[in-house]
Symmetry: C2
Subunit: 253 residues, 2 copies
């Protein structure tokens, strides 16, 4: 069995209001990729956020006293910290050069995913990009486009790149899903010799996010979408929150 990840290039620079389903569909045709049932499209959060107009001009921000206090510790622009805090439920770690938060969507990441790279320069302001409002919904919208206009039942995943505790380097990670199973339950399955498995749940969506991220690169490579064929588990209803570890079972806050 093969897993094949194909770069979808030729995606134009996305503008607020663009219909991503339509844009990706056109690029697939240009790339001569014939989409089929059970294929998966992995989409970087960046173009989703752009299509949703999630730009913020930090010159317009007035930092709160909390933002000023945090900014002094992590040595970031207090106006940026103000935006980060607004996107967050709580601060998990604040140290020099590092601001790690629980994002309002529930996952832990640096800077609440607020990002400056690949955001178009604009003469009147210092622009940053927030993560999509509701990445599960964004994924569903793209999935529905393909269901409606191309009559295919596919999975769609929105991904970002996060750092990890303990290990260096960032890896692709799922922040929104429509149809891609998040956890695959192995409980009750036996191993080769009939023992119960120690491992009970596979983080399948995150494993696929990492794989797709490898094909996106991070610089000027312009591969915001990866087409996947051969994902080894059936599509299933799913959502970001499936992957979030309940706070009382999280020993690393």
């Amino acid at each position: 069995m093969n897993l094949v990840l194909q770069q979808v290039s030729n995606i134009p620079i996305i503008q607020p209001g663009d219909d991503l389903g339509r844009v990706i569909s056109a690029s697939l045709k240009e790339n001569e990729i014939q989409i089929r049932d059970n294929d998966i499209l992995v989409v970087t959060q960046k173009i989703v956020s752009k299509s949703e107009g999630r730009f913020v001009n930090i010159e317009k921000e007035t930092p709160s006293s909390e933002a000023l206090r945090m900014a002094a510790i992590c040595e970031k622009d207090p106006r940026l910290v103000e935006v980060i805090l607004r996107e967050s439920r709580e601060v998990v770690r604040c140290k020099k050069d590092t601001l790690i938060v629980e994002h309002r969507l529930g996952f832990i990441c640096a800077n609440a995913g607020v990002d400056h790279s690949n955001v178009k320069e604009n003469s009147d302001g210092i622009w940053y990009l927030l993560l999509p409002e509701d990445p599960d919904r964004s994924a569903r919208k793209i999935r529905e486009y393909f269901s409606k206009h191309e009559s295919v039942n596919i999975g769609v995943m929105i991904i970002d790149s996060h750092g990890r505790a303990w290990r260096q380097g960032i890896v692709g990670i799922m922040i929104g899903t429509a149809g891609v199973p998040v956890l695959v339950d192995m409980r009750g399955k036996a191993d080769l010799f009939g023992y119960d498995l120690r491992i009970t749940q596979i983080g399948a969506a995150d494993e696929l996010a990492a794989a797709a991220s490898l094909m996106m690169g991070q610089a000027d490579e312009r591969v915001p979408v990866v087409h996947v064929r051969g994902f080894p588990y059936p599509l299933a209803e799913s959502r970001l929150s499936d992957v979030l570890r309940p706070k009382d079972k999280d020993f690393f806050r």
Copy 2:
């Protein structure tokens, strides 16, 4: 550009002393996979450990007072905890059902990777399997087999599945490498609009480990090796320690 991950099935049950390079080479031929320069073989730690005879019979263990103390907290067999502690530099978290350590190789994981599943039942003992002694060396040995006997320059990675802080589900992760770059440095690269990138290092080996893990499954599927073609970065000298976050930059111990 495509990334293609192909399951290498037909790997026989591995016995201590087996030459994994030779075994995998034979299975590739059976699977009609023609290995080429720059291909990568991803190998689960399980068969590496078996080939290295890393079995431990916990019935022979006498738990130390430290092991007894920890075992009472995490509610595991004290003889197993004794083995886990011997494989560890320090205990990071010990709670009911959970024993997370810094493995002697430097990474953080549950139970020091000591595992009972897929370990052959034996009438005289309760057998567990330790991680390979030196997974970088194990990877190099396989790489050298292919260099010597098939005249190809490939990358080899040994992987395991680890849980994560904050997120549910286990994902594939690199624990040994020969030739597969661990971190790909993006510093100095500009984004689409010429900004410096916020993201400086991509955890490329871990991203590939996650991808390959997806194709291995965890139960009785018997896919201990995945063949990879189209990895987007050049092979480079590398080692496990490249991925380990220095303790003074790790905020989540």
